[in-house]
Subunit: 199 residues, 2 copies
Amino acid sequence: MSFSPLIRQLIDALRILPGVGQKTAQRMALQLLERDRSGGLRLAQALTRAMEGVGYCRQCRTLSEDGLCPQCSDPRRDDALLCVVEGPMDVFAVEQTGYRGRYFVLKGHLSPLDGLGPEAIGIPELEERIARGTFAEVILATNPTVEGEATAHYIAQMLAPRGLTVSRIAHGVPLGGELEMVDGGTLAHAMAGRRPIGL
Amino acid sequence: MSFSPLIRQLIDALRILPGVGQKTAQRMALQLLERDRSGGLRLAQALTRAMEGVGYCRQCRTLSEDGLCPQCSDPRRDDALLCVVEGPMDVFAVEQTGYRGRYFVLKGHLSPLDGLGPEAIGIPELEERIARGTFAEVILATNPTVEGEATAHYIAQMLAPRGLTVSRIAHGVPLGGELEMVDGGTLAHAMAGRRPIGL
């Protein structure tokens, strides 16, 4: 091996980052060492603080170092709307749409083969949150995968007796693509979900 | 913004890594927070140790926390061979070829437009190293770019009076590709550098 021990340890440690293999880790380590040591130290500090300080919001269960996350503590948001997502990254994605209601973050999706039932992903806590809240509509924004659909279906059934509106985000053709590139299942959803054009 | 301050700071800090943009940094931060906090802390520690502890080898000038790097301190390597490269990453690349001589690491290549002359990239130190050493051959393994070629040419001229063999790594077609995909300049080098097949 041609790297000294500290550099080798840094390269190994960088490989825990998603999408970073041996070659990328080498390039990252040497670039930090040669060009940006103070940036490397800042990164080390930010990592330590976040790993030790960040917990979960007690209300929506997204990642946050405060007991209540920015979305839950904002008094200007709509308390009649609840959006259910699979993870903290999805909160960020939905925020970009301009949605300004509340959130509930599951721990992933139902996956019986992996032993992940309703308790494991936090469905009881979701039920409790809805019982405590004043929601008129629950938007199920789990992923458009088989497991995400099954999870949405399960939650919809569970909420049926409560008399609130339970909705699912629309499936259809994404913007900016070409129709011939869209798979048949998506296109079938887009056809079934067609809407009259208001002129 | 939908992330709490510590998470936002971590995302910003991750963006100093080469090739990491906003989206990748978000994915890295959330993955570490959700799945591998101890790995994140190990990475923070490895970063701190490396940024504070790694210096340069006093002989070949590659990155190393010891005064002499593993290559310079290994007594079994060939003291008659010196390989000159542009940076520490290139040492690693050349090591993979099975080369077991010594190294000298420049700080990049000559680039008069950026104000990088011979002093800036360490040519005087290279001259000194060669004067002190017992080299019979100096292999110029700078990059096959215009600047790398110019740097190799400059060093070859400087070393001409010393009566050592000065060689340049071969240019030619890389293994595993197809001839029609190789650029004309490379193919011209491959033709000019053709060798009789020993049967």
